[in-house]
């Protein structure tokens, strides 16, 4: 059995690093068009920032109903992805053809740029929620077993 570390250094570093990881995840998501990265990496980083506290501070307290149902948020992320793809389909174009998104005053390439950002946000939400949900499931299993 691994116990949480009671070192001040570990606790302080975790407190400093968690917001930095989240800020970096946001950068990776928004800057995915220009540099390596995108929805998958950003979602994983977001999830890691939620899971890191347990390494530093240990498992304490029981889960809320919201935490038990975190997987629902993953479904919302996929629905956002598929929903953006569905808009062109409803307008008589191909599924996921962002060039035909009904945004006035924009060129097709700019609409594609925006569509990519939209689905990347969906991927981020889905990946982050799924990873966090797997972690919460593991934690739930550990509850009431001498932790």
């Amino acid at each position: 059995m691994i116990r949480p570390h009671d070192s001040v250094i570990v606790h302080t570093l975790a407190r400093v690093f968690i917001p930095i990881i989240q800020l970096f995840a946001l950068y990776v998501l928004i800057h995915g068009h220009d540099s390596p990265g995108g929805g998958f990496q950003a979602g994983t980083l977001f999830a890691a920032s939620f899971i890191l506290p347990v390494i530093a501070f240990g498992i304490q307290g029981s889960l809320t109903v919201l935490e038990r149902r975190a997987i629902i948020l993953g479904g919302i992320g996929i629905l956002l992805f598929a929903g953006i793809g569905l808009i062109p389909l409803l307008l008589g174009e191909e599924f996921l053809n962002y060039g035909e998104l009904p945004i006035p005053g924009m060129e097709a390439s700019a609409r594609r740029h925006l569509g990519i950002l939209g689905i990347e946000i969906g991927v981020t939400i889905a990946v982050a929620a799924t990873a966090v949900s797997i972690y919460y499931s593991l934690r739930e299993r550990g509850e009431g077993e001498g932790n």
Binding site: I2, G32, G39, Q41, L45, I71, G85, R112, A126, I134
Partner: protein, 179 residues
């Protein structure tokens, strides 16, 4: 053409992979596996696949390490050694065959970056030439993943979500299934 540091990284990948298998203490095993993923990420970056390297670093070295650590909270961190000679021999044999098939298949792969190879002649040249103009996205990998091959990415995300649902159904406590 592989450089000297590629061979060095490849050696480190193999050494850390073997270490992760043979080390008895599971905590050390998890950290060795993280080191393995990190060296693999460096290898990808050296081959020019920066997006793959990034994914390997955050998923392999980051998130899966965290999952293993949380799982270790719930169990003992010493490996229980069971001597099952027959199973071990079967695993060794099937892995040997798999390794041979992979090596056999890799003979037909084109040289990395060869412009005359079949994958380079197909749609990828269109992506490289036109993606900035068509999607306003300088990173070709993002344009291919999210736009040209968006349907595949939707499928991949659904696979991850499905894995999450499976974990949730397997690991949740039974007593709240009625609520």
């Amino acid at each position: 053409m592989m450089l000297f540091d590629d061979y060095l990284l490849l050696t480190l990948v193999i050494v850390t992979a073997l270490g992760a298998v043979f080390v008895r203490d599971l905590f050390s095993g998890v950290l060795t596996l993280a080191a393995y993923s990190f060296f693999l990420a460096l290898l990808w970056a050296g081959l020019g696949a920066v997006d793959v390297a990034f994914t390997e670093a955050v998923v392999g070295a980051g998130l899966s390490t965290l999952f293993f650590l949380v799982a270790l909270f719930l169990t003992s961190h010493q490996e229980e050694v069971r001597k099952q000679f027959k199973v071990q021999m079967m695993a060794l044999g099937s892995l040997g065959i798999l390794g041979f098939l992979l090596l056999f298949g890799s003979v037909d792969l084109p040289v990395v970056g060869d412009p005359e190879s079949l994958p380079s002649k197909h749609v990828s040249s269109h992506y490289l030439k036109k993606s900035l103009e068509e999607t306003d996205t300088p990173n070709v990998v993002t344009a291919v993943l999210a736009d040209y091959r968006g349907f595949d990415t939707l499928g991949e995300t659904t696979v991850i979500f499905t894995a999450g649902i499976a974990c949730w159904m397997l690991l949740r406590r039974r007593d709240d299934s009625a609520t």
